[in-house]
Amino acid sequence: MKMLLLVACMIATVVLTGCNEESCDGRVQVQDKVKSDNLGGNIITRPFVAAGSGMLGHGIEITDVKQTRNEAGLLEVSVIGFNKAYNPNRFEYYTEWLDESGAVIESATDNWMPFSVNARSNFSFKVVSKSPNAVDFRINTRKNRKVK
């Protein structure tokens, strides 16, 4: 009986993980335990939903990348995305700036930068090139294992 209940919960989780209650305006994020209870926020079902989300391998999704050049002639890149997981996602990103010939422009502060996103939340971060010669970029990500 216990096993059946567990399986039923898992199935419900898999079906309903994508059906979270949406805000009427995507710019306003209402987290679980603040908004009305749903499967993802309910104290009993939440562990199953989180486990289901983990099983499905939910992670971050990049929804938009905006590129502009600021007054000083430096390239600015805004990365906008959404964390589909029911757990906070802690990751690091690394930016490489490329010149016209496609070569990497090295700088003293080239390193992995930590970033944290709440569960089921929008996020954005901005990076600025350190040289006006930058015309393109590459951003890589990895799991942040230093933070808990």
Partner: protein
């Protein structure tokens, strides 16, 4: 008996040499090692990167009438329990903002010895002494040739230790930097980067 003793000593030495922790170089680009309670190079890298990103995206270094600002590094106070050379933070920032083409650093004046090149003044002392006559006069700097800085970078690194629970301590590091216009005294830009750590009470944060 002697032979047995020698064999035992050699055996112990052989076993123990295998237990010595092997020294390895750190992969500075992909270092996934555990965090430490004190400040390590990754914390300085993170703080410097956030500072540079904030400074360059603020647009405050872009001179309205064109050209470049002359920047000096003033005093950065180490208000932590650790022995820190504040150049670990500022050297990276200076390098990146210089490469951005928006500022020129000066070595004529600075908050500490490492920010100044003593040869700037030494050469002028030589010019004004009897030794100056030994040099070709047109190779010596004229009076009034040094350029005064427009801006100064200053700040502090501050440490706060808190008791989190019986077994855990919390250490907060505040990196605070500001840029001041030396003519008007007005503050152009400022930024604080906070790095927090929690660890065992037995660990020492200095």
């Amino acid at each position: 008996m002697k032979t047995i003793f020698t064999l035992v000593v050699f055996s112990i030495l052989f076993v123990l040499t295998g237990c010595v922790q092997e020294t390895k170089n750190i992969d500075m680009t992909n270092d996934n090692a555990k965090a430490v309670l004190a400040l390590d190079y990754r914390d300085f890298d993170q703080a410097a990167t956030e500072m540079v990103q904030s400074l360059l995206s603020s647009g405050k270094l872009a001179k309205p009438e064109g050209g470049q600002y002359v920047l000096t590094t003033g005093v950065i106070t180490n208000d932590t329990m650790q022995r820190i050379d504040t150049d670990l933070l500022t050297a990276k920032i200076e390098e990146d903002i210089t490469n951005s083409g928006q500022v020129v650093m000066t070595s004529a004046i600075g908050g500490k010895d490492s920010n100044r090149d003593s040869m700037v003044n030494d050469l002028r002392d030589v010019r004004d002494s009897a030794k100056g006559e030994e040099f070709q006069q047109d190779t010596l700097p004229n009076k009034g040739t040094l350029i005064a800085p427009d801006l100064s970078l200053s700040g502090k690194i501050y440490q706060r230790n808190l008791s989190y629970d019986k077994k855990t301590q919390q250490v907060e590091y505040y990196f605070q930097l500001k840029i001041t216009d030396l003519k008007s005294g007005l503050r152009f830009w400022q930024k604080e980067v906070l790095i927090g750590k929690r660890g065992s009470n037995k660990a020492v944060a200095w």
